[in-house]
Symmetry: C2
Subunit: 348 residues, 2 copies
Amino acid sequence: MRYLILAEGFSADPHYGKTARGVLRYRRADVVAILDSTRAGETEEGVPIVGAVAEAMRYAPTTALVGVATQGGRFPPAWIEILRDCIANGIDVENGLHVFLSDDPELRELAEGNGVALRDLRRPPADLSTATGEVFEVPGTIVLTVGSDCAIGKMTVSLELDLEARRRGERSIFVPTGQTGIAIAGWGIAVDAVVADFIAGAAERLVVEGARRGGDLLWVEGQGSLVHPVYSGVTLGLYHGSAPHLLVLCHESGRDEVEGAGGGPHPLPSLRELVDLHERTALPRRPAKVVAVALNTRALDDAAARAAVEAAAEETGLPADDPVRFGAGRLVDAVLAARRASAARAEG
Amino acid sequence: MRYLILAEGFSADPHYGKTARGVLRYRRADVVAILDSTRAGETEEGVPIVGAVAEAMRYAPTTALVGVATQGGRFPPAWIEILRDCIANGIDVENGLHVFLSDDPELRELAEGNGVALRDLRRPPADLSTATGEVFEVPGTIVLTVGSDCAIGKMTVSLELDLEARRRGERSIFVPTGQTGIAIAGWGIAVDAVVADFIAGAAERLVVEGARRGGDLLWVEGQGSLVHPVYSGVTLGLYHGSAPHLLVLCHESGRDEVEGAGGGPHPLPSLRELVDLHERTALPRRPAKVVAVALNTRALDDAAARAAVEAAAEETGLPADDPVRFGAGRLVDAVLAARRASAARAEG
């Protein structure tokens, strides 16, 4: 695949360009151009930014990725023109929004006429059902990232820990639960897009599929937060449905309120309270322990970042680190040590 | 409305006939017949049971209600024939399953041809969105029923407490969140049928609508359980989205495991632990207190029921009662006392 990332108006925005940035970071080699007319002529991580689809054609993209995830997932109307241009130029489209391209009769007809595929990454499988309990038979170790808020890096932490574990020779796999993770890994289900009754069923299916793909260390991408007034239902359904043995608690340094939720302020509990909350809300059938804290220190300088990591470790009594800034080694050490301890307990 | 309840094969089953039984209990005056060929000629709460739609016509039903909710909500194939008969006889159909009647082209065509309406009670409104925070501006007192498991009587408790509060002259309203509640109250959203991202948004909309309908004591029908491996996501999304001030904890005496969930056994925490779990998982923005325990004692004799109520009160330190068996007075007293205490704190 040769990706053209569609990020019109958003390529510079760290929050709204989440899917674009994720693919750019973890599938850099497959990205040939970015479309954002407000930055045409610039580059982003060495990738040329173009102002129009016609201009992108010199890089021979095969697939256009809708790289913007707005709240509620609606489609900016101005984009329809860009999508038409992609289809007319024979480029497949992958879309991560709530609104499905293949539900638009005009785009679908255009796609069929041009022999182009429309892939809606958030469209749930048609045969989803409620959870069956099959997840409790998965033999591997299941590790879920949880966190204080949305958009603080839970997916990134899961990906970085998976990469490090694979470097160490583990049969490790990243289990994608959102549109960006799906775009990166090439499989998965957006658990926040399924019928509410099926959240745990979707999570269970993903873990079972991760094991089937050969993983015995399964890094499940977390979603939302147990204290998020909008998305907590998805978070708990994913938590119980994926039945993790171990949790990695993610937090962005300095954030003390849920961001972007109405009716607030919605204060965040302390890290220590979050550890406690997550362990108490585990299913009785599958107790889970928080084994490490992953801190996102992007807003801090190096010295402040080191101090924040140390403070998080001291507050929680757990290993802490920023895996993007300082490497994933310490967090993977903590997870593997917890796995060994649990295996020893099971044998003893 | 004159209801014909469709309960083929299930009218005697207390679990699977949930919707049938709910409507029978709370809209008894509107039910003219029950269809269940396995019990034709019998009666249920004084309502005649018939073996076929043709036979039901002598009671002049206007609306047939699909009174069965199977796990996952699929439609038993044998029912299609019964539905065809209803439509051919000019009877509207209300359906509470996941599968929507109006998505079936044949049934839809038949309904149009016969001037009959197909109402899918679980079909979410088309314009749902994520929660906005509007719920935090609702001036009334919001009371959510929570519980240890599914199908233990959370809806019934909400309905009984609402009835008792209205008898006392309160501007009280029942806020329906599932198909049976919707069938009983004539409005509502099945929150487990919405897109996962919109659970809290749906719950919020229902509370706002309850206030708009004149309620300042809003009894929100709970769903699932925080410790249910299949449905906990819906439970937490409903909890946070409805932003209750007060909780009534529901439990069935003698139940010590989640019923009907695979991969178990899934042990239930004690009542005291459940009180603690629910108070700890409240949104920081809207702390909630469990103010009473509603016990379902249907499996016990009177003496054992009284002892179970007393034991629950002692274990939790909270007022406890079985509102169906012994009346809703004590539980409504507890809720109104908590509301007064909270108003006094707000003024003091």
